[in-house]
Structure formats: C-alpha cells, structure tokens
Assembly symmetry: C2
Homo-oligomer: 421 residues x 2
C-alpha cells in the first residue's frame, strides 16, 4: 500500500475561494443577455482556476471520474479538449425564450454553440466547454418493428427506414443551474437555496456560501437527452404539429422491462406518436431525464418495492404513495418546475400531443407558458398487470385519464404480486 | 423574485469540519472487520451531524435533489426513513471476501444488512441508511420473446414464464468508497487521491482534506444494479455453472437502440446466457454500472460521434480511439479496477461464461482473484452495421475475439455512416 501522507499538503490547499477584492476578475455572466459575449461563457474548467466563473465543474457527476483520472496520472490536469468537428449536427436556436433570466434556469441555452459564439475567447486562452452536444443517430427498438408489422406506423424510407431504423437528431445536455432562477422556481431565496445545497449534501462546495458573486452552479447530477423525430424546424413552426413526451429515467423498466410500472411501454408509445406526428409533417420530441426513482435513487426505489409487496394486505393501490413517503419522507423529488427549461431551449410554445398523464408535468409546462392541446394516456393494453397498482393510484391522485377515476374502494381492490410470487 | 440575503447567514455556517480534539467522536469504521459492530456502520445522515463518520451523503448524486427538497420545505431535514418491511427479498452474503480491507473498496458489503446487524444502534438513535437494496422482479424484453420463438431459450415456467417474463432477484447499490483502498487500486497515495478529488472537482467536499480521520467517502455519482437469474445460492456453489456480464451504461443503445454500438444487443445476449445457465442448474448475473460514455458522460460521447463522422475520410476504425482522446484527453475513464468489487460482494470466485470481450474487464476481474473459464464474444449477427467501426477497433486494441484480429490495413477499410446519411 502506498505511504500515507494525508495532511502534508494542507498548506498548499485553498479550501474555498472568496470574491476577489483586487486584481483580475473572471468574465461575468449576465444570464439571459441577448449578446453571447455580454451573456458571458460558462467556464468550469480546472485548467486555469482564475478563469472559473461558476461553482463546480463540467460533465455532471462524471467530474468525479475526471478527478480519478487526474489522480492516477492518466489525464493531464491541463488537458484542453480539441473540439474540431464537434459542432452541432443540426442547429437548435437561438429562440426568443433564450433571452430571459427566468425561462431557462437549469441548462445553458448557449451550451451547444460555445465553439461558435465564443470563438474570440478561445484565442485568448479561455477553456470553454460545451455543455450541450447535438448529433444524429439511427435508433431501432423491437417494439417499433412490431408497430410497423401491426400497421400502427409505416416505413416511409426517410424518417422510418425499412427494418425499423428511425432517424433522429439527439442532444445531450449537462445541468447548468442559474441559482437565482432555481431559487425563484422553488419559491425560496437564493441564500436559503445555497445554504441548503451546501449543508444538506454534507458540505459540498463551500463556494455556494463563500462566492455570492458566482450565480451559476454545475451540480454533480445526471443531465438529460433530447430525441427529435422529423425536421428540427417543425418544432417551432405553428403550422406543423408537435408531439412531446418528457420521460424520467426508470432503468428497471426502460432497459430491463420490469413489469411493476409502465415506463418503457409509455416511452415506446411516445416514440410511436413522434413518428406519426413527424410523418404528418410535424415533429416529435422525447426528453429523457436522469431522475431515477423520482430522483430518490434506485436504492430507495427498491426499498419501497419491498415495503409495498410485504405490507399487510399486500401491494395495494391505496397505499402506493404512503410507502414511498415512509421511506423517503416525500412522494417525489423530481422538481418538475425545472423540467420545462429544455422545452423552452427547443423554442416550443405549443404541444399538440402530450404523451404523459402526469399532472405535475402538465402543470409545470402550462404554467411556464407552453400550450398543451391534447393529453394522450397510455393505451390500456400496454399496462403490465403488476403496474395496475401504480397507474390507478396515480389516476386517483390527479393523473390525467380519459376513463374513470378510481375511488378509495376501487383502490383498495387493486393489488400487485407478492415478493414470493 | 424573493429578496436576496446571500451572506447574511455566513456566521452560522461551518465551512468544513476538522477532527474532534475533545468531546464525543463519531463511531469509527474499521473497514473489513468481521464483526459488523466492530466494522462500524456507514453514517452519512444529515439528521444528526455529530453522528456522521463519512464524507458526503447518501443516494449518490441524488443527494443534491434531497437538498432541493429540504430547501423548498418539502422534506424535513430531520426525516428518518421508516424501514419497515424493506429488508432484502433474498439474502446475499456474508462471504469471506467481505472480511478484507482490499477485496471490496467501492461499495459497503454490509449495505443491505444494516437493518439487521445494526439493530441495537437504531435504538440508540443512530440514523443508519441502507446503501444496498435487494428486491425481486419480473422483467420482459422483446428480444427474449424472440429468443424463445427461435428456440434459443425455453420457457420452463419457473425462471422463464410463458409470455417471456423472466424472474430475477435484483440489487441496487450506491457507491461507498473506502479511500485507502481506492487509492491502493489506482496506485496512488490516499493523500494524493483526496487532494485530486477535492481540487479536480472544483472544490467539492473540503473534508476530503480536512478530515483525514474519515476514510469513507460517499461520492455523488451513479451506482449500479445487479440482476440475478436463477438461485442466488448457485452463484457461490462450485458445482454449479455461472454466467456473468458486467455492462457499462449506454443510454443511447440500452434504451433507444442506437446502431452505432453493440451495447444493447450484447446485454440481451448476456441475459440469454444467464437464462441458459440458470436453466442448466446454475445462475446468471448481469451488473449494470452507471458509467455512461466510458464515464466521460454523454455530452463528450456525442461530441466524439460528431468528430468521428466528420473527420477526413469519414468514420474510420483506425481513428476510433483517437477521436475520443482528442476531446476527452483519455480513451476511457471507467476505472475497471473498481468493478470487481460487486462480484466479490456476491461471493463469486469463478465465472464459467464471461459475456464480454473487454480485455480491461477481463484483466481487472482475473487480477482480483476470480477465475474466468470461457469468454463469450457477441455473435456476428447481433452487430449493427454502423457498430463495425467500434467493434473492430476494439478487437485491434486487445478485445477478445475467437475470430481474426484486424490489422491496420483492415481498420482503414472499415467505415461507418456519415452524419448526413
């Protein structure tokens, strides 16, 4: 085992920085400003500490792996990305919604364009990293092939190719939080938000409290991915229809097809709606957000599964939310208030077909100023038997349905499988 | 917008803690000790700060959402989980590998058992959270139904049910890092590791440098999920066969079926092998690790896709790794050195069928003392056309194949689709 030297370097470490009183200041960020150079770039690089104008670093939680790479000598800490040929495969924006300090607060609308709009700053030595990347892909899901076979969608050779390949534009987005805007959405002061973020994570990033001059935070959490079917230009064209699903990660269903929830079936149904809408001359958008288990994480989710399936009377719809609250203290931590940001980044002002029954998502989107014309519930035949507990409990709690809303007596009758089955 | 009070509470904030010189100390952790009470519980709770004996908090990166919930008043900061009925649905361990400070360093082997082994401490008021949860599920993937139809696997009514439902035991695991052990794996001193983790994340957790007495860190990163097919007891029975795939997250393929890589097809092939091995009286294990884009994150991944598909000569196998290095500075940040921990947690000492071609995974596992009998490459017919660039580049770089290894001239001929196609 290597020799232990903990503490010997303490004298070289600055434990937290404070606003500069003299000398050069980092480039300021004026969130929402129209001119990108006046808005200012988000600089979370570790190559030149004096240039940093945010709290935290890039790549969301993967910044921790970067630190391991530097620690082990695999990565030079001063490595700068060679961004040759990495510019967006399709342009997205700018849109009027970008020029507001309120409409978009949890991602950087300029995140994909830094290589263009900050070109002069690169030459001055600033290390500005994209926080959004836009590429193209062909995707193929077995269920889509089945949808073709059953005639629900047709191969057109351009959007949907023979064999079921679906042509998409996709964007990966890292979280970039403008703290005054986040605080405003949550209805708290920026100061209270900063203190909670510091204290309630066990002391992560003292700069949250020592750098009130830095208003942008790159939190070490998962980001999101946007899948666009059809022409990007159709998204913002009022003459063309738009289908949207905003989907929160559920690894157990999305990848492995667990039958305790409707996540993957509803996701696939959303993609089908995107294909239909794009083929009708519009576009479809799927947003995939890394908020596993309602942002409670998968350990909590599995603990809740056990509690549900072992409780007296078995897994019952009438006790569905209670079990989550007992373990986690809340039913949900997803903060859908932040979710519409990505729709505003895309320039969306109207959704013709919203492929979600969530009242929380619906309320967040419409309250952010986007019109929703039609809400599309999951077809009954796509609901796995064991997922009845969840879907009926959600309907009773306010989820959209075009059928009947179960009452307490109904809920008490709806039961899922036991752990032993 | 709420009024701004940044700074006014600074006097109440302890920016970083230091080891106690007087007064009560938190419960010590003796990593690898046989007696759980001597080993000591991992306490990352925020309810009673004086009880904390680790750096960071629970739920990996979802701890940030918990802080939002407290900030917004949705969650009481002193909420304690009601863990009634949450105990593991199947017992796993203890195994001899648990009683070593070296075999397992990136997760807490006792993580699922805290409700049992620390029962006396709960009564004393300690808030000890499980970092592992074990439940049961039925999963159903369309490809498995196809495998049944084509006769590659059979419905047996117990492991694989009619309709393609597969019965699994699954475990969600949060990261728990024993820093001396992590440092040892990476070949650096604990001090250098701690400084890099602090400095190269932009100043995350000053306790990494101010609390050399705390050797356990709960990093804000994704964890992993284990899927077990067949009897858990078969995993450690030397008379019964075992199939294993360790799979690193690839959302674009695993969920959406992107054709640029082999991730989902190989994952499904691994599950098929697990079913076959379980039906032959053994067991199968899939480990799903949240290390998107080789732990570089999805933004970097998409930037690299663009650079590959736009470079001179198009997307070529002979330039496959170079493009990643140009953007990220390294080819890979997954640190497979840490991956075998989960296999040791399961008590695995021999893998009969290893469903992976990765030489990095193979080397990490065998060097950790686990025997691998057979390596199973992905069948040729499961490789999407556009994924040829990746798989052939990897073979040339040392990936296992039972076919021929491409040379430089071969690699220069293997090309993928352009962005415009």
């Amino acid at each position: 085992m290597p020799s232990e030297k903990t503490g010997t370097k303490l004298k070289h470490i600055v434990l937290t920085s404070h606003p500069a009183r003299f000398g050069q200041k980092p480039l300021p960020i004026h969130w929402g400003a129209v001119d990108p150079l006046k808005r200012g770039p988000v600089i979370g690089t570790l190559t030149t500490a004096a240039h940093r104008n945010v709290i935290g670093t890039h790549a969301g939680s993967y910044g921790v792996y970067r630190a391991l790479a530097v620690a082990s000598g695999k990565l030079q800490s001063n490595h700068r990305a060679d961004l040759t040929n990495t510019l967006p495969a399709e342009p997205i924006g700018p849109h009027p919604s970008w020029y507001s300090a309120d409409k978009i607060v949890s991602l950087d609308p300029l995140g994909a364009l830094v290589g263009e709009v900050y070109a002069p700053l690169y030459q001055e030595g600033y290390d500005i990293r994209p926080t959004i990347a836009i590429t193209k892909a062909h995707i193929n899901m077995p269920e889509l092939q089945e949808a073709v076979m059953k005639g629900r969608i047709q191969v057109d050779g351009k959007i949907l190719k023979p064999g079921g390949d679906l042509v998409v534009t996709k964007a990966a987005i890292e979280p970039v939080w403008y703290l005054p805007g986040i605080a405003n959405r949550l209805g708290v002061t920026e100061s209270d938000l900063r203190h909670a973020l510091f204290e309630q994570t066990g002391g992560m990033f003292p700069e949250l409290v020592t750098r009130p001059d830095f208003h942008v935070f790159l939190p070490p959490i998962g980001g999101m991915t946007v899948y666009i079917v059809g022409e990007v230009a159709a998204i913002t064209d009022p003459q063309r229809p738009l289908a949207v699903r905003v989907h929160d990660e559920c690894n157990g269903s999305d990848v492995f097809g667990s039958d305790i929830c409707t996540c993957r079936p509803y996701l696939v149904h959303g993609i089908e709606a995107c294909v239909q809408t794009a083929q009708a001359g519009g576009a479809g958008v799927i947003v995939y957000l890394r908020k596993e288990g309602r942002a409670l994480g998968e350990v909590t989710k599995f603990l809740v599964y056990n509690a549900r399936k072992r409780q007296e009377g078995g897994d019952r719809a009438d006790a569905y939310f209670t079990r989550t609250e007992c373990v986690a203290g809340v039913q949900d931590m997803r903060f859908q208030e932040l979710m519409p940001d990505v729709l505003h980044w895309l320039g969306i002002t109207r959704i013709d077909r919203f492929i979600s029954m969530s009242n929380m998502k619906y309320n967040a989107i419409t309250q952010s100023g986007i019109e929703i014309v039609e809400r599309v519930p999951i077809p009954e035949d796509l609901i796995p038997a064991d997922a009845r507990v969840e879907i009926e409990a959600k309907k009773a709690a306010g989820y959209y349905t075009n059928g009947s809303v179960p009452d307490d007596a109904d809920l008490a009758q709806i039961k899922g499988r036991m752990l032993t089955e």
